[in-house]
């Protein structure tokens, strides 16, 4: 695309590791020019954060994935002479990104107030671990620790699961995505009103934002903490989770049937598209189970089959699923596990043992036919050769100045029907110093 949406925008990126650099990557893919500011003592620490034996020209595969399509300007921030060109770069910049621990960038002389004096139109994006003040401000802003401190890792506990961290850096990525949103919104305002802005996000708040659904279902005590830091008294019967209906004329509604715990783990949404999606209605049993008034939903999740695995989507009606997998005969009498209602304990185990009887393909044929959301469970090799994946054209090859190439993913957004791609790989430390200095000198 000749004219990407952010073409003409320059981003000066002081950040390291994942959260801030993920913001920079997105802005770069949307068309901005992103200049990484790196120190001469090894640059971004992520260059040396290895997760495998893949090393390309001295840098980890992580670094390459996160920093493709960026420039590198190497500056010793502690050297007055070296700072001068950086100041001149900031004069021309539109956006700054930083993710040091609170106070560090100010000590280096490039806090928001400093940069704003240099360039009043600057949109300055800042990521902290836990906010810039308060008792957690100094705690290390590391993804797993944030998952642990927010309760994310223990959300499955009500279903008897041990704590489980999410195996991806969702706290970092959520903060990085939010920062991109805030920066872009501030650029929209700047284009109208001319003023810059300070945009701040934290890993902690971003992770809580990701937990929105769970919070919506939280017991009432969870969001009503008392000043002493302890959760408030025991949940009030019939209260509506995080959304406590306090003084509204209409009390919270709570059906008598269907204990909340039966849906907790998978509580959440469907992104089904059609307006005709109310599956609970479609599958309401016409006969048998007339006593079941509340939503009769099978536990969503992944089950082992005779040869691999199958995923049953959220909101799948248990009655229809039971029919599709042969729990009932033609008269809809129960053939297998008596009274198979999700509300009964052990339903997941019983579904599991049933799914073990046949292969994934066999199950998919009968379950899909019944219109129940389900799918196979792909690993990466099978994903990568799947026509559905290929149709997305998600992989692009990027090239470094040296000619070294790397297979990378592209930006997940399309604009005007076109995929946002860029063949530029990650930079070496200081690779663009000469070009940037020349540009600043107007040559």
């Amino acid at each position: 695309m000749a004219d990407k949406p952010l073409s003409g925008i320059t981003v000066v990126d002081f950040s390291q590791f994942l959260s801030g650099p993920y913001t920079g990557l997105r802005l770069a893919d949307l068309g901005a020019r992103v200049v990484k500011i790196e120190n001469p003592r090894g640059g971004d620490l992520c260059r040396r954060l290895y997760i495998s034996n893949v090393e390309i020209e001295g840098d980890s595969s992580l670094f390459h994935a996160i920093n493709r399509n960026k420039m590198s300007f190497c500056v010793d921030l502690k050297d007055e002479r070296e700072r001068l060109p950086l100041v001149r770069l900031l004069e021309k910049a539109d956006v700054v990104i930083q993710n040091f621990r609170p106070g560090v960038i100010e000590r280096l002389g490039f806090g928001y107030e400093d940069v704003r004096r240099i360039n009043p139109r600057i949109v300055y994006g800042s990521i902290s671990g836990y906010g810039t003040e308060g008792p957690l401000a100094e705690a290390p802003g590391q993804d797993l620790l944030v998952q642990s401190l927010t309760g994310l890792a223990r959300l499955g506990e009500e279903d008897g699961e041990a704590p489980m961290a999410y195996g991806l850096a969702v706290a970092d990525m959520s903060a990085g995505a939010l920062l991109a949103e805030g920066i872009l919104a501030a650029l929209v305002r700047r284009s109208i009103a001319g003023q810059g802005a300070l945009v701040e996000v934290s890993l902690l708040e971003s992770t809580l934002d990701l937990m929105q659904e769970a919070l919506a279902d939280a017991p009432v005590g969870a969001l009503a903490a008392k000043p002493d830091g302890l959760p408030a008294e025991a949940p009030v019967a019939g209260a509506a989770g995080a959304f406590r209906a306090e003084s509204g004329p209409l009390p919270a509604e709570r059906p008598d049937l269907a204990p909340a715990e039966m849906f907790r783990a998978e509580s959440g949404s469907e992104s089904a598209k059609a307006p005709d999606v109310a599956q609970a209605e479609i599958y309401r049993p016409e006969s048998g189970f007339e006593s079941v008034k509340a939503p009769d939903v099978a536990p969503a999740g992944i089950y082992r089959t005779g040869d691999s695995y199958i995923a049953i989507g959220r909101g799948a009606p248990l009655f229809a699923l039971g029919r599709a997998i042969g729990w009932f005969d033609a008269e809809e009498r129960v053939l297998a596990p008596a009274g198979s209602r999700a509300a009964q304990p052990g339903i997941r185990e019983r579904l599991q043992s049933k799914f073990g009887e046949r292969t994934t393909a066999e199950w998919l044929a009968s379950i899909e036919q019944a219109g129940i959301p389900c799918s196979e469970v792909l690993d990466w090799p099978n994903l990568l050769k799947h026509d559905g994946f290929r149709a997305l054209e998600m992989i692009q090859t990027v090239r470094r100045a040296s000619g070294a190439t790397l297979a990378a993913l592209r930006c997940p957004i399309r604009i005007d029907g076109k995929r946002l791609t860029s063949a530029t790989g990650s930079p070496g430390i200081g690779e663009h110093n000469t070009a940037i200095l020349r540009e600043l000198e107007g040559r």
Binding site: L145, R154, A197, A391
Partner: protein, 382 residues
């Protein structure tokens, strides 16, 4: 602090990815009118997986639709459709997440709408893109996860693939959509023209894995190897993980195994001086650590590790987290009200602008709450 003041967003979407994107735009200052079918509205109003409703709507609906207006319309009714088209003519942004082709049936696809309003930024969210063999599959978070490889990154080696318990893919699809819309608005400021922004759940699921998937694409196709115990990241070495203590759980991030052994008084760990062994002998090291950590309560371990700046944390429940002083100081919980007085608590937008927290007190609308007012304001009533 209204970065997006005076922008009008029409939200035709349902469930999560679309509505959440529209809500973020609203938090950032835009005016959002939710266009809902007259019969029942957004299907997520009734999606009560927890069986909790407030003032007639599910808590999930409330969480995703704060600070919006609701305009009820039956798109199959020519009069209603005409009104909706006149709204679109005056809008800056439109968001929809119907199955591919649905908007076209009403003549509201991008190509048609662009004729009416060339400045419109039109965002379309699908499950798997608008073409290809998956295009008609249900675009549901868990199923997309299952197809994307994500569940092979969670849990321990002896477990089946484990999906995320939260609709993380929906949330990131939403973020991608907001980014695309805002970038297109920036371009509109320069060129005067709107544009089409397309995102999908599958592309978001792949982007979420971009670090490890890039590694896989370049390491000869090796598969992620989950730990036997305390699995937290299939690609990170010991001690990365969550461990049971005598009274709870402790999380340990990246760090020196030797130093950890010294701090915890666990001599066997000091026998792994070579950092590459923290990867190659990850599970052996983690087993030593796991049995050592069970002997004392979390607080005692933290007292040894925190003063040394070792990356560690107590693993809290959500209730404990929200009750913690460090979280409460952020004022992440806000109270919102409906016009009828029903009050709800939810979380605010996590972005701050110029030091100000974004948020206001307006709750999700009841179905069609603003239809008459919007008709009047935009001159839609005949």
């Amino acid at each position: 602090m209204k970065l997006l003041e005076d922008l009008l967003v029409l939200d035709f979407s349902q469930f999560m990815a679309g509505p959440f994107a529209a809500m973020r735009l609203s938090d950032l200052g835009a005016r959002v009118i939710k266009v809902e079918r007259s019969e029942g509205g957004d299907a997520s109003r009734g999606l009560t997986l927890s069986n909790l409703k407030v003032d007639g709507d599910s808590t999930v609906f409330h969480a995703m639709n704060r600070n919006k207006e609701s305009y009820a319309a039956n798109l199959k009714d020519p009069d209603d459709l005409r009104k909706v088209i006149r709204l679109i003519e005056q809008a800056d942004v439109l968001i929809e997440n119907f199955r591919p082709g649905t908007m076209a049936k009403f003549g509201l696809d991008y190509a048609s709408v662009r004729e009416l309003n060339p400045r419109l930024v039109y965002a379309s969210i699908t499950g798997y893109g608008a073409e290809g063999p998956w295009k008609d599959k249900p675009g549901q978070d868990l199923l997309v996860q299952a197809l994307s490889g994500i569940p092979w990154l969670n849990g321990n080696a002896d477990q089946p693939p484990v999906p995320f318990g939260l609709s993380v893919v929906d949330m990131f699809t939403s973020a991608n959509t907001v980014q695309g819309i805002l970038a297109a608005l920036i371009r509109r400021g320069r060129t005067g023209e709107g544009g089409l922004v397309e995102t999908s759940l599958m592309e978001a699921a792949l982007d979420l894995q971009f670090e490890v998937l890039t590694t896989h694409l370049n390491d000869g196709g090796q598969l992620p190897q989950r730990s036997r115990i305390s699995g937290a990241h299939a690609y990170l070495g010991a001690p990365y993980g969550i461990y049971a203590t005598r009274d709870g759980y402790l999380a340990l991030a990246m760090g020196s195994v030797v130093r950890l052994g010294e701090l915890l008084g666990c001599e066997p760990l000091t026998r792994y001086p070579n950092p590459s062994s923290w990867f190659d002998e990850r599970d052996e090291i983690k087993e030593i650590l796991a049995s050592h950590l069970r002997s004392r309560p979390t607080g005692e371990w933290l007292a040894l590790l925190e003063p040394a700046d070792y990356w560690c944390a107590e693993v809290r429940t959500m209730e404990e987290a929200l009750g913690h002083e460090g979280v409460r100081e952020l004022d992440i919980v806000i109270e919102v009200s409906r016009r009828n007085g029903a009050k709800l608590r939810t979380t605010r937008c996590p972005i701050r602008v110029d030091g100000q927290r974004l948020g206001n007190e307006v709750a999700a609308p009841s179905l069609g709450e603003d239809t008459a007012a919007v008709d009047r304001e935009f001159g839609l009533a005949r």
